[in-house]
Symmetry: C2
Subunit: 334 residues, 2 copies
DNA sequence: CTGAAAGCGCTAACAA
DNA sequence: TTGTTAGCGCTTTCAG
């Protein structure tokens, strides 16, 4: 009792394999009568078409390659998983296969095996990306906005998010605003810093070098940065921290030094980790649509795959400032 | 300039397609001379075999299906990602493709498309697993130990880990030991509780009902549980918490109530999250070999795939107690 | 609306 | 050691 083939189904239904193929692919018109009989035979035999054969015969793989750069940093948070979730669910919905590759850029799915490639960021995979683009394979990059490359991408609008944090803090009356950055080797880290500095300048707020502390998304770096900041003679009244983990650590340090948060120090994080809402002092932070980024990326790629070769789509997803209890109006302004 | 096929390579090398196939698959013997010429032609044409065609012709897909249950809880920590990483790197190493499916159990990769199936846990996918087993497809379950099913699995030895935590705490002189459990719908949650209770009984330590607080891996549940525990007239001197996130929250609550940690309350977590080492009070916790679990699971499955149908392998991976600074000897015993 | 026949790109006997 | 020849299981013209 081996696997039934399309021929077996055809025999049972009393039609040709062509007709079976037609109803499987919901293509062309088939008489209701025949359709019914085929469906019946399919159920009876538990027939499942062989994807490889379909691919070979039709030229469509119905598969997208998912590239996850083999970069340690990627795995240090729940970040990537959220994105993968968005991609995975979107793919599942339309019954598209995902070929997962965690790679340092030197290995990759065979172009012949996929209809398109979806990169979760591009660390170390720049060459691979270039090659893919050359081959004309539909490609999408998620979580990294590539300004100059003719490739579709969807990322979170980190700059605007940072600017809005500054706006928010400024509206609360803060003028002495510092930041603890993320890893500046990442685009997220860089953009959040950029947006921060831009907003400060735009509002003519002081932008002291001493207020720019460089972190790397690690807790230790946040701790060190906070300590420096709080020891400053003109210590800031608010700190924009580039991740929730770091922000929570920042608050810990401040509290330990006897500072009251948010009364004497306002802190804003970034991510909206589940942990942020449940922290000792519920954290005001920036929510990023990670799953949505994955979903949108996949959906856009999928359109690209079946549509004409459109010009690359570039998408920047908006964030949302989630107000909780780690910020307060400065008494100076009251 | 379309994709070169094996025929094109053969033509350029001046040999038959069979010979090309032979050198591609490193099979049978080919004269050094021919091998060289084929390799050259391959390089020149940038030839890459079409996996679907290979699959169809050879019957080997060189692909394993990776099943991730579509269960919200799975995505709430960095947990799954570590496991995926282990699997992904192992697969990459031997150039095996991974077909990713995030599913609620009602969809699955076509059995014809894969040589084996690797489940990351089984929530909601029990039926799928049964069906797979019936079909005789090589199967492996990771992160869930299935005692009674004839299926290979590798999981973390949560019970023993919990027992060793109790041992450790007891050696420190603690007798009043409480626990905050994880979600008891998960095997990890259940086993950690089991191990805890067993160890208490084995050492004839008090095992009061009031000391067993049910959490769900969420921070709120940890907070509530801790508050109850600390309000007890005979409040425990040590708490074993089923996850680092919850343990950190537990410490937060204790600290807020004016308790000193670890002087007045020892806390042990579980996971060894990156965050545990960098917490205000570096957390003593249990390190679980997540990536290794993934890697081992994959490797075992792979052997199963190419070897004979062996009897299922069941593996329980040992954990490691990481001593940091959240526990202390009780003064009672000094 | 239906089916016969020709492959899709590759591998695997089987001969030579 | 090499090449010839059938397919693998499906889709797709192209007639009917």
């Amino acid at each position: 009792m081996k696997k039934p083939g399309i021929a077996e189904v055809a025999r049972i239904a009393g039609v040709s394999t062509t007709t079976v193929s037609r109803v499987i692919n919901e293509v062309s018109t088939v008489s209701d009568d025949n359709r019914r009989r085929v469906l019946e035979a399919v159920k009876k035999t538990k027939y499942r078409p062989n994807p490889s054969a379909q691919h070979l015969a039709s030229g469509k793989a119905n598969t997208v390659g998912l590239i996850i750069p083999r970069f340690e940093g990627v795995f240090h948070s729940y970040y990537a998983l959220q994105v993968i979730k968005g991609i995975g669910l979107a793919a599942e919905r339309i019954h598209c296969d995902l070929l997962l590759h965690i790679t340092d850029g030197r290995t990759a799915p065979s172009p012949a095996a996929v209809d398109g490639l979806l990169f979760i960021d591009v660390y170390g995979c720049e060459e691979l990306l270039d090659r893919t683009l050359d081959e004309g394979l539909p490609t999408m990059v998620v979580n990294h906005y590539l300004e100059d490359l003719p490739v579709s991408c969807v990322a979170v609008d980190n700059k605007t998010a940072a600017e809005r944090v500054v706006d928010y803090l400024a509206r609360l009356g803060h003028r002495e605003i510092a930041t603890i950055t993320g890893d500046l080797k990442t685009q997220a880290g860089l953009d959040r810093l950029d947006g921060f500095v831009n907003a400060l300048k735009a509002r003519q707020l002081p932008c002291k070098d001493a207020y720019l502390r460089y972190g790397d998304f690690g807790l230790s770096s946040a701790r060190a940065a906070t300590e420096v900041l709080l020891a400053l003679p003109d210590r800031p009244t608010a700190i924009f921290v580039a991740s929730d983990d770091m922000a929570l650590e920042c608050i810990n340090v401040a509290l330990a030094k006897g500072l009251r948060v948010p009364e004497e120090l306002s802190v804003v994080g970034f991510d909206d980790n589940p942990i942020a809402a449940h922290a000792r002092i519920p954290l005001t932070t920036v929510r990023q649509p990670l799953s949505e980024m994955g979903r949108r990326g996949f959906e856009l790629l999928h359109q690209q795959m079946k549509g004409k070769k459109q010009t690359p789509t570039k998408l920047l997803l908006p964030t949302e400032l989630v107000e909780r209890q780690s910020c307060r109006q400065t008494w100076l302004e009251r």
